[in-house]
């Protein structure tokens, strides 16, 4: 019997009874390689592409995609991070949150193709906040979205351009992405999965 999402998320302790690993390190690596190639294919190369990760887990993903693009195309793609905390629509509903780093690469984003990178696409509200945040940084030529996992349940008209894996989930479940650098291992885990 699945626990409610709130208690499952607050525990943070893996529960082998209900947790299910859906992507392991190899799966994540292959998904990122494919996303990198798709970004290159869509934009006909890496010219003018800037990768911006949304903290915290989007940032190492952006960095890994940048590495892969560099090894394929042989040119370094600028990457950075974009904190969206102050642009969230639920800012007033919770205690003031800690800000996370925003690092816009040298050269800015004006007239570039910005690829936003995040770990999980869910309601779409984070991406809406990110689009607002981008607005205050500059005017990109285009904005694209890459996510490792799309779990559905969108609340806004937002879709991803590049998806690592589509994961049908129920609302009581929680998708947890772990990445080395932030966590101990590479894995995507569904918590509270029905057995």
């Amino acid at each position: 019997m699945p626990a409610p999402a709130t208690t499952a998320s607050s525990s943070g302790v893996p529960d082998p009874g209900t947790d299910r690993t859906v992507l392991d390190a190899g799966d994540i690596s292959r998904a990122l390689s494919r996303i990198s190639h798709e970004i290159l294919e869509r934009n006909k190369g890496a010219d003018g592409v800037v990768l911006l990760g949304i903290p915290s887990r989007g940032v190492p993903l952006a960095e890994r995609i940048a590495e892969r693009i560099a090894s394929v195309e042989g040119i370094a793609v600028p990457f950075g991070s974009l904190d969206v905390t102050m642009y969230r629509d639920d800012l007033r509903l919770k205690p003031a949150r800690t800000l996370l780093p925003t690092q816009i690469p040298d050269g800015g984003i004006d007239d570039k193709v910005v690829v936003l990178v995040d770990d999980v696409l869910f309601s779409g509200r984070t991406i809406r906040a990110a689009l607002d945040a981008l607005n205050d940084v500059g005017r990109p030529r285009a904005v694209q979205l890459a996510v490792l996992v799309d779990r559905g349940h969108r609340e806004l008209p937002i879709r991803a351009d590049f998806v690592g894996k589509n994961l049908p989930t129920s609302l009581v479940q929680r998708v947890r992405v772990q990445l080395t650098g932030v966590d101990d291992v590479d894995a995507v885990v569904i918590e509270g999965a029905t057995s």
């Binding site: 904190d83 102050m86 509903l93 205690p95 003031a96 949150r97 800690t98 800000l99 607002d132 205050d136």
Partner: protein, 337 residues
């Protein structure tokens, strides 16, 4: 509810470092083309200044505006205060107009405490300097400046605990300085060793209960210091003879080029402003490479943005400051008129 910033003593180490880390993220905003964040959109911040101030008022105003708050400036001159209105009636007026935060500077020590704890206003109260008591945001911006210069930052990452064991000398008119008190309390919280240097007449009664060391000998303290903070002699608050002549004070407690030469290579020189060049600090020291006085002003905006964001940005404050009825440990608060 804990929602005010009245004293540096109210800040735990975690709270203080949260404010400093937040300020570090907000400081990068100054380099962006659009220096504006939407976090406090629709909130109103009142700057209630009963005493003259240039940089603090402008700094708070810039901080609130960069967070998209509406700012109402209210100074004693040219308002009903000059007609004899009391603090209470002014507060009730502000409450009736509806405001979310009151930034108050007042000549009476304890006025912000009175405003926060009398039930006159529901807004968050931020102390921007009260009498000779405290000036917590100045303490925070000084701590922030110290972190940036004395912290060994790895690849731009913020380092908590950077002030652990660092020696900070605060020199000059400690008696009348709210900056000295806030700094002494906050820097102690952050793990630094603070030494107050002043003539005996300019050290406050009860200084032995502060978490600091004291000295009358500036030349003995300077070679060991990691940072030297010079204070202005506040002659407007002096009614007696605290030292024989300005020249003698300057000779014994002023920072000049000769004394600066005895500092360690990494030591920085700070001053909360306004400076009196030639009195507590000579022009060549104030304009030297060691001086971070102008940077302190820049940092002030970032720190005040962090304070306003953490107090007003969410549904409740992220820092647990200024509980109602908290007791100021080192001074009995006068009741504001």
């Amino acid at each position: 509810m804990k929602k005010h910033l009245l004293s540096a003593a109210d800040l735990s180490r975690d709270d203080a470092e949260l404010i400093l880390r937040t300020a570090e993220e907000l400081r990068s905003l100054a380099d962006r083309p659009i220096k504006k964040l939407p976090a406090l959109r629709g909130r109103t911040v009142v700057n209630l200044f009963f005493e003259d101030s240039t940089r603090t008022r402008i700094s708070f105003e810039a901080a609130a505006k960069r967070l998209s708050a509406d700012v109402i400036n209210f100074s004693a001159k040219g308002s009903s205060l000059s007609k004899g209105e009391s603090l209470k009636d002014t507060a009730l007026t502000l409450e009736a107009m509806g405001c979310d935060a009151v930034v108050i500077r007042h000549g009476a020590s304890g006025a912000p405490h009175r405003l926060a704890n009398s039930g006159w206003v529901r807004a968050s109260v931020v102390n921007a300097g009260d009498g000779t008591h405290e000036h917590p945001t100045q303490g925070l911006l000084d701590a922030f400046t110290l972190y940036r210069h004395l912290g060994k930052r790895h690849a731009g990452a913020w380092q908590d605990g950077a002030l652990e064991g660092r020696r900070i000398a605060i020199v000059g008119d400690v008696l009348h300085s709210r900056v000295a008190r806030s700094n002494a309390l906050l820097l102690h919280t952050l793990g630094a060793e603070v030494t107050l240097v002043a003539p005996p007449t300019l050290l406050p009664v009860g200084v032995e209960t502060w978490p600091v060391e004291t000295s009358y000998d500036l030349d003995g303290v300077l070679p060991k210091a990691d940072a030297v903070m010079m204070l202005r002699v506040q002659r407007e608050r002096m009614s007696g003879g605290f030292f024989p002549t300005a020249r003698e004070y300057s000779r014994r407690y002023g920072l000049d080029g000769r004394r600066m030469a005895t500092l360690q290579d990494h030591t920085i020189v700070m001053h909360p402003g306004p400076m009196v060049r030639g009195m507590e600090i000579t022009a060549d020291v104030a304009d030297s490479d060691r001086s971070v006085i102008v940077e302190q002003v820049t940092n002030g905006v970032a720190v005040r943005m962090a304070v306003l964001y953490l107090l007003l940005g969410g549904s409740e404050p992220a820092v647990s400051t200024g509980d109602a009825g908290s007791i100021e440990p080192f001074e009995t608060t006068e009741v504001a008129r």
